[in-house]
Symmetry: C2
Subunit: 346 residues, 2 copies
């Protein structure tokens, strides 16, 4: 049923080029860290968990390519690759989290042969992938507890199989509900400027025959007023220690609107998305993207284009206190989050 965005077969890494969906659906190989960085930057692969998984595999690919070099040189090469991949996108913390897990492998066994380390790295990358899939399945199970049946769900951006190790976070809950024959219907907002809702989530849901309706981002509020939304579900790219979270631009507005209409509003994310080093949302770096992403559909001429000011942040920050909860593989965290998050990480 679910289409995996990432495949790792015979030590080769394949991703679906998500910039081509829905017009083309094809796997492409990533055969180096550079190619992986480009793919991440160009959003051929996106979604916080998916980025982490792909980065881990890219570390393995570089490790394998360097498996004949001397241990110290290897370490240096791997650290370069680590830094290269780390810089590919700034907001999603899963990237750093996955890279750190790989770094811990090659840092921890100074006496082992490079060949052995490479094997360990491979196995760690595969674990990261599998653990994400399992975490998403648990998130889905936990998420079902807050889902009325029947219900109308509003979701933002893409948090499905394409965004993760193959199941999904917010969308994973929806898949689990569909499997259990819940009577659900999903409002998918298009998620400008890159249309992850319109291109990816809408496509995923139609592929899986889940009833869904596409809307523009700014139609959400009137649907809420009209009583057509029972719950709002989205993902997260980084969650601070206090539960504040960064997610796709528009998430904050949806959460304020949900609160104003007394509609439950949940984020769903694996705990790999939690960044314990960050106290609150104020400290999460927000990626600024280029103006072309917004302007390209509007036919401005070069001179107008060059003169124009465009503000295109990829994410916004939703304060913990306006969320109904954060659904993780360890259960649903409610505000105030800090204690529970700290306990989980102890």
């Amino acid at each position: 049923m679910i289409t995996p965005a990432i495949k790792f077969e015979q030590n080769k890494l394949f991703i679906i080029d998500q910039t081509l969906i829905p017009s083309k659906f094809e796997y492409t190989t990533l055969s180096s860290a550079e190619e992986t960085c480009d793919a991440i930057r160009e959003l051929k692969v996106r979604g916080a968990p998916a980025i982490g998984i792909v980065a881990a595999y890219a570390m393995f690919i570089e490790a394998q390519r360097n498996h004949t070099i001397e241990r110290k040189q290897f370490q240096k090469r791997m650290d370069q690759t680590f830094n290269l991949l780390l810089k590919s996108r700034p907001t999603a913390i899963n990237l750093k989290w996955a890279l750190m897990r790989i770094k811990n492998i090659y840092d921890s066994y100074p006496d082992q042969s490079v060949q052995n380390i490479v094997k360990h790295i491979r196995s760690e990358a595969v674990d990261i992938h599998k653990e994400d899939y399992d975490a998403c399945k648990k998130i889905a199970k936990n998420g079902l507890k807050i889902l009325p049946n029947p219900c109308n769900i509003l979701t933002h951006c893409n948090t499905g199989s394409l965004a993760t190790g193959g199941w999904g976070t917010a969308l994973g809950i929806i898949y689990a509900a569909a499997e259990k024959k819940y009577k659900i219907h999903v409002y998918v907002d298009e998620t400008r400027p890159l249309g992850q809702g319109a291109r990816l989530t809408f496509w995923e849901l139609m592929q899986n025959k889940i009833p869904c309706t596409l809307i523009t981002d700014s139609t959400a509020a009137s649907l809420m007023k009209d009583g057509k939304v029972d719950v709002v579900l989205f993902g997260a790219d980084r969650i601070a220690k206090n539960g504040d979270l960064a997610n796709k631009i528009g998430t904050y507005g949806l959460s304020v609107l949900a609160k104003a209409h007394n509609i439950p509003c949940y984020a769903a994310a694996p705990t790999s998305t939690i960044d314990m080093s960050i106290k609150s949302g104020n400290d999460i770096p927000i990626e600024q993207r280029n103006k072309a992403e917004i302007l390209k559909i509007y036919d401005y001429n070069n001179s107008q284009y060059n003169k124009s000011n465009v503000y295109n942040p990829a994410f916004d920050i939703t304060p913990a206190e306006i969320l109904s909860g954060i659904i993780t593989e360890f259960g649903i965290f409610h505000y105030p989050f800090e204690d529970k998050i700290t306990k989980t990480f102890r």
Copy 2:
């Protein structure tokens, strides 16, 4: 400085085809009621006041074409034209208001010659156009009273010279502020799906060298949270007796977000936009538009496209009580509006 969207010269009606902006800027002739209906439906001309003006001129053009026929036949022909134009778009009340003014002319003088009636119609259409321009200038003057200086304004859709008889409502206030050398900066949201913000308002402001920044619709909330918006200004397509109003989809959400962030939020509209026959927003008809407007940028194939559900209302309803006020040519109405609106219309 300001580019008129509608020109009436030597008894001929010209409009800027707004679907071509910003890539092309050209006037096109509307030489019949049918052509005018098509232009209105296809949004070649849009904006509640502009639609009313163009419809009034279209009535004159049809009157002129029929100026040699017998009085009773003329009356019948004009009523057919009235009904045709009235149906072109359902939400903006200025259309009906302007058509009624023309109908009152040919209904009121049963004994006058057709030639004379045609002259009266011409003069009424020109008056409607001129009165709208004057009303917008008064709106601008009144609007300046609520505008801090310096200030950052967030606006939605297009309410400028393109949307009106040549000055603008919400954007007209901004033009007046610029003339008075206020230090203003305008955040323009793109206004999906048709991009009236990105294509028209952003273009108008850049043409007039007014500092402005384009954002996606869902970036507004985080700008508000970050304290970057001092006032929200938009127009209206129909205002009910109690002050509830229909305006471009997304307006309701912006007004809820503005309230949640304690940001003043005003609608600006001439009183021709007020429909005293409608008690509240619940009774305003909302135009539903086709799925292509949203989907066309997303490359779905025919079979996916045909199967897809898309909800594309052109407008939403903003309840009177969450607005800071409605800025009209007769002053600023504050909630509760009903008494003041009724008094103005007495």
